[in-house]
């Protein structure tokens, strides 16, 4: 019969936020925690976070494997960035690393233990054709054979259709901005690239403020909150690291977010990061008024973020579906959305 397992992934958030809270965990509790962490791609982060804590030997071994695996992923991600750098040497354009690869390339705490899959880069829109040609001549190939998908990406998306390297089997997403062109919010990618920071090898990463803006935009203005717990953990780590060097870091983020049209989204991200992980974020009354009081709607977001059970299974179909619809609603105008969903439905795609 069903054993009692923690009802949702709030357990995982608690473990990451306060490892000491785990001591009363029994075998089933640990099992649930590991399954959730794997499903949310936070197992390496959890392993890093729980290093040295008291736990049964079997758990210690599982987490040790996860730590080693994260180290391998880190190395592979850096190598993939280097491969892209070499392929793009002839392209006269700044190449900005995004997300996980950027965090490890810049040596940030947000990269510790993080699982990293695809390589994401941001380039100026006018360099897109040159970048595409250079990658195609260096062993990358198209992933999506579907002409509708391909045309859709090129006309409406913020990135090229995904490319995969035929020998290393690794994907690259080439972005020219951070949200789809059809979205209501239109951040300023030129400013992001202009203020990016050059690393030793010539590749770039976003400025600290833009890293937060991008993570928040990705989470609340684009996707259906899949992978949200990991995204918020990134934001938590970035805020702690940069906030530790500059006590008005949050204010800089708000100013930047305002410029990109992302202030509402960033405030939502900060509130939820604080609710999940205790992130030290600051509200302001002056020079600009930026309140961060919890909102009733945050509960709905948490309900979606924690929608996973002790078997690592997605739960709360209704909530998930609502956020899926929301993601499309944000992404494109209604008539276009109807046409798009109808086309995808006829092709056999079923969400959730």
């Amino acid at each position: 019969m069903e054993r009692p397992v923690s009802p949702d992934a709030a357990l995982l958030a608690r473990a990451l936020r306060d490892p000491a809270s785990l001591e009363p965990l029994d075998a089933d509790g640990w099992t649930a925690l590991i399954a959730m962490a794997r499903a949310e791609q936070l197992i390496g982060t959890l392993a890093q976070r729980l290093a040295g804590a008291a736990m049964p030997p079997a758990v210690a071994r599982i987490l040790e494997d996860a730590r080693a695996s994260a180290a391998d992923q880190r190395r592979a991600a850096l190598w993939e960035a280097e491969a892209a750098r070499r392929a793009l040497v002839g392209v006269e354009a700044p190449i900005v690393l995004l997300k996980g690869t950027a965090y490890v390339a810049a040596g940030l705490a947000a990269g510790e233990g993080r699982s990293i899959g695809d390589l994401d880069i941001l380039v100026p829109r006018e360099s897109l054709d040159a970048v595409e040609r250079a990658l195609l001549s260096s062993g990358w190939e198209w992933v999506k054979p579907d002409p509708y998908d391909d045309a859709y990406y090129r006309r409406w998306m913020h990135e090229l259709p995904p490319l995969i390297h035929r020998e290393r089997d690794r994907m690259i997403d080439v972005h020219h901005t951070i949200l789809p062109l059809t979205a209501r919010i239109t951040p300023d990618p030129e400013a992001m690239i202009a203020d990016s920071i050059v690393l030793e090898n010539g590749l770039r990463v976003l400025s600290p403020e833009d890293m937060i803006c991008h993570a928040a935009a990705h989470l609340f203005a684009d996707g259906d909150l899949a992978g949200g717990m990991r995204n918020l953990w990134d934001i938590d780590r970035l805020c702690r690291e940069f906030g530790g060097r500059d006590e008005d870091f949050c204010l800089s983020v708000y100013e930047r977010a305002h410029r990109h049209g992302l202030l509402t989204v960033v405030r939502r991200a900060f509130r939820l990061a604080r609710q999940l992980y205790g992130t030290p974020v600051r509200a302001y009354r002056s020079p600009i008024r930026v309140p961060l009081d919890d909102r009733l709607s945050d509960r709905l977001y948490r309900r979606r973020l924690f929608a996973r059970n002790g078997w690592g299974r997605p739960t709360r179909r209704g909530t998930r579906f609502a956020f899926y619809l929301r993601s499309h609603w944000l992404r494109m105008p209604p008539a276009m959305l109807a046409r798009h969903l109808w086309t995808k439905w006829r092709k056999g795609y079923r969400p959730v």
Binding site: T31, A76, G312
Partner: protein, 286 residues
């Protein structure tokens, strides 16, 4: 999940959850002699579930899930639920194992030293391991050999032996019928019948062994033997490993160590008896 089974096979603990009782009942019977996961915390979670609620009863179809999944694995009919469980457990190892270098190979042991047999599906890995297991060798596993990158030792993974088609009869003549699971006819891989490893294989599954002989058997040819160069061995082993790339440098070091230290031979054989004679002869000549 509604029905739950937990087991430890070699170093890997599993938790299998199922929407149906039947696959769990079969696992309980066939894995009766196995221990539970260490500390009660399994390494991997497997889920057997109905992708749509009505598929629990109406032409029930078992979808494979777990910590690690392939995106488009086809569901199996409930009558093949045991196969679904075994496939899903193998998948966790193939995609999720990071402690050991995983070789798609069967392994048997004698006096602390192991013979590894690898090859394409149909080469006879499982059949030879089961038959050698019936002749005094200790069966270490018929699917995966686990190489510890730290020590170079091979660790056992003696799951149920998966016999296919003609191999079912060949092995059926050599071991007691009581150790067989149900015949699963008409699966995507043909007829399949699972064999419970003998008690010593389970009792001694925590004893690693030194890899001593690496064989590349091939069924359906006249008796022949061939030496392989190190580069051919290396390439064939990388193809036989599901986590070689994911293990990075540790994987490379463990792999090159096997290639360097373990004598290897390709053997062709027309029938099981001829294969066993070749294995014994090569073993005695070591």
């Amino acid at each position: 999940m509604r029905h739950i089974f937990q087991v430890r096979i070699g170093p890997a603990g599993f938790r299998v959850g199922s929407d149906w009782r039947a696959p769990i009942a079969e696992l309980e019977r066939l894995y009766a002699g196995y221990p539970a996961p260490e500390n009660g915390v399994p390494d991997f979670t497997v889920r057997l579930f109905a992708a749509r609620p009505w598929r629990r009863w109406l032409r029930p179809a078992v979808t494979l899930g777990g910590d690690f999944v392939l995106p488009d694995a086809a569901p199996l009919p409930l009558s093949q639920g045991l196969l679904a469980a075994e496939m899903a457990m193998n998948l966790q190892m193939a995609l999720g194992q990071r402690r050991y270098l995983l070789l798609h190979a069967s392994a048997v042991e004698r006096e602390g030293r192991a013979v590894l047999m690898t090859g394409l599906s149909g080469a006879g890995k499982s059949t030879l391991a089961a038959l050698l297991g019936a002749r005094g060798w200790r069966l270490m596993g018929d699917e995966f050999a686990l190489i510890d990158p730290a020590t170079g030792m091979v660790h056992a993974f003696p799951r149920l032996v998966s016999l296919k088609n003609a191999a079912i009869g060949v092995v059926g003549d050599a071991v007691p019928q009581a150790r067989f699971g149900p015949l699963l006819a008409g699966t995507p891989k043909g007829d399949i019948r699972h064999l419970v490893p003998d008690p010593q294989a389970v009792a001694r599954m925590d004893e690693p062994a030194q890899p001593a002989l690496l064989l590349f058997p091939r069924f359906g040819f006249a008796i022949a033997q061939r030496d392989l160069g190190p580069s051919e061995i290396f390439v064939r082993l990388t193809q036989a490993s599901t986590n070689y790339v994911a293990l990075g440098e540790r994987g490379f070091d463990a792999m090159t160590r096997v290639v360097r230290d373990v004598p290897a031979r390709a053997i062709d054989y027309p029938n099981a008896e001829a294969a066993i004679q070749q294995v014994e002869a090569l073993w005695n000549a070591l």
